[in-house]
């Protein structure tokens, strides 16, 4: 039987709380990160991703304590991202109990960080997060990489950027469609497929999940190796278990 496709609940964390926004703005409180992590673990989540969306570096240490707490109670892979600027940031997150660290803005401003981090800690724990926006036409699709939480255009084309990150040692790509994030309209499937087909490393689809069919589409039509979702799980619309049962009915291999 093949490798199971992964379902990864995502927890956006600020000031010690899980929050959720729409198109990267308008944050709502969704609860305590440790409690939520344990709930998803019980439901059969394959991994968890924590994105520290804290703007100020003063509060940066809060995420380390949260990861320590979660890592002593939850025994599935934990990915942490947000504000990772140097090799030292990665070391601290791994020491707190993260299994993988996700690099976003700094991968653009300092691609050497990806290479250094992969060399030091191994590709298996270096995830590059790409926030991409649709800037093409139906005839000429094109997606541009944005940084700084989606505020800054980079001029970089997403598919080529993903390939470059793989060549520098990234072990996985976390691909978020900014146009879809928080909209509940489903993944940007052409973007997901274009990136997934262009790299040899696993791609996690993110941004836009509103129902269970969207998860299935991300795998079957987007060719993603894993699907990430936040709000459909945070607000109790679906459990991870329900999502997996649905995907299994659609012929997708999952861990139940």
């Amino acid at each position: 039987m093949p490798l199971a496709k992964r379902i990864i609940p995502c927890l956006d964390v600020t000031a010690g709380r899980v929050v959720k926004g729409v198109n990267f703005v308008g944050l709502q409180d969704a609860g305590d990160p440790v409690e939520i992590a344990k709930r998803y673990d019980d439901q059969g989540a394959d991994e968890l991703t924590f994105l520290d969306i804290t703007a100020s570096s003063d509060e940066r240490d809060i995420i380390l304590h949260i990861i320590e707490d979660v890592a002593s109670q939850v025994f599935i892979p934990l990915t942490v991202g947000g504000g990772v600027r140097q090799v030292e940031d990665i070391r601290r997150l791994l020491n707190a109990g993260a299994d993988k660290v996700s690099i976003n803005t700094s991968a653009v401003t300092n691609p050497q960080l990806v290479e250094d981090a992969a060399g030091r800690f191994g590709s298996q724990c270096i995830v590059v997060a790409i926030d991409a926006k649709d800037v093409g036409t139906p005839e000429a699709p094109r997606w541009e990489v944005f940084t700084h939480g989606g505020r800054k255009a980079t001029g970089l084309e997403a598919v080529a950027w993903a390939q470059k990150m793989q060549s520098l040692g990234a072990g996985e790509i976390l691909l978020t469609s900014m146009d879809r994030d928080g909209t509940k309209q489903g993944f940007n499937l052409p973007l997901t497929r274009a990136v997934s087909d262009a790299v040899d490393i696993p791609v996690i689809a993110s941004g836009g999940v509103g129902n269970l069919q969207h998860l299935t589409d991300g795998i079957l039509l987007g060719h993603a190796d894993a699907v990430l979702a936040a709000s459909i799980f945070h607000y109790g619309e679906y459990t991870v278990q329900q999502a997996k049962e649905y995907m299994r009915q659609q012929g997708i291999e999952v861990r139940l």
Partner: protein
């Protein structure tokens, strides 16, 4: 007296997950993350983890003077290798043409890129990252209470091959069958990460904590 479980720390990768999981399943044991050869040789049980590239792991192990401690403990007390900690027990790895410790006969090979297609014709990615079924090749105390075919978490691009088929205790597929767990006497080693494999992984670790080293 409390038993001591030494987790060998040679400065590579994230060992926090391994110690946390051991502390969780063995509240009555002393879990010691250590790079001190004497402490390792005095421990009742030894866990040998590893992440990253095998060449770097071997270099660090050598620099820190821990090779002898691994050789000794891998042959005389309950010993658990994980991931690169499994691969290093073998003779040689294709990854940067790296010699291993040679405690077990066999080679570490990369997933062959020309064969990475599943039965549906879908391309399989490398690293093999995620949850795959693990089939018990033979009974072993460390499989106790774990369903044959239970899924464990993997993340790797290389896997072990051995001419000594009796060594294989577990197999998985990606897309071809490969050895993902080996055992000989007091030694057990896995390619997957029990410390990240939820209830099945915790069960394997608690079996190790309770194990007397008799296969």
């Amino acid at each position: 007296m409390k038993q001591t479980i030494a987790v060998i720390d040679y400065g590579m990768g994230n060992l926090r997950s391994v110690t946390k999981a051991l502390e969780h399943v063995a509240p009555d044991s002393r879990v010691l993350l250590t790079s001190d050869a004497r402490q390792i040789e005095q421990a009742d049980k030894v866990v040998f983890p590893g992440q990253g590239a095998m060449r770097d792991c071997m270099a660090e192990l050598t620099t820190r003077g821990l090779r002898d401690a691994v050789h000794t403990t891998a042959t005389d007390r309950p010993f658990l290798g994980i991931c690169i900690g499994e691969q290093m027990l073998f003779e040689h790895s294709e990854e940067f043409d790296t010699p291993g410790l040679g405690i077990l006969p066999g080679q570490v090979k990369r997933f062959p890129s020309d064969q990475m297609v599943d039965a549906q014709g879908q391309r399989l990615k490398v690293p093999h990252m995620g949850w795959s079924e693990v089939w018990h090749s033979r009974p072993h105390p460390l499989w106790h209470g774990i369903e044959d075919g239970a899924r464990f978490y993997f993340v790797h691009s290389y896997f072990v091959t051995t001419p000594d088929t009796a060594l294989t205790t577990g197999e998985s597929t990606y897309p071809n069958r490969f050895t993902c767990a080996v055992g000989r006497n007091n030694l057990f080693a896995t390619q997957f990460h029990p410390e990240k494999s939820h209830s099945a992984g915790l069960r394997l670790l608690s079996n190790f904590v309770a194990w007397n080293g008799q296969a």
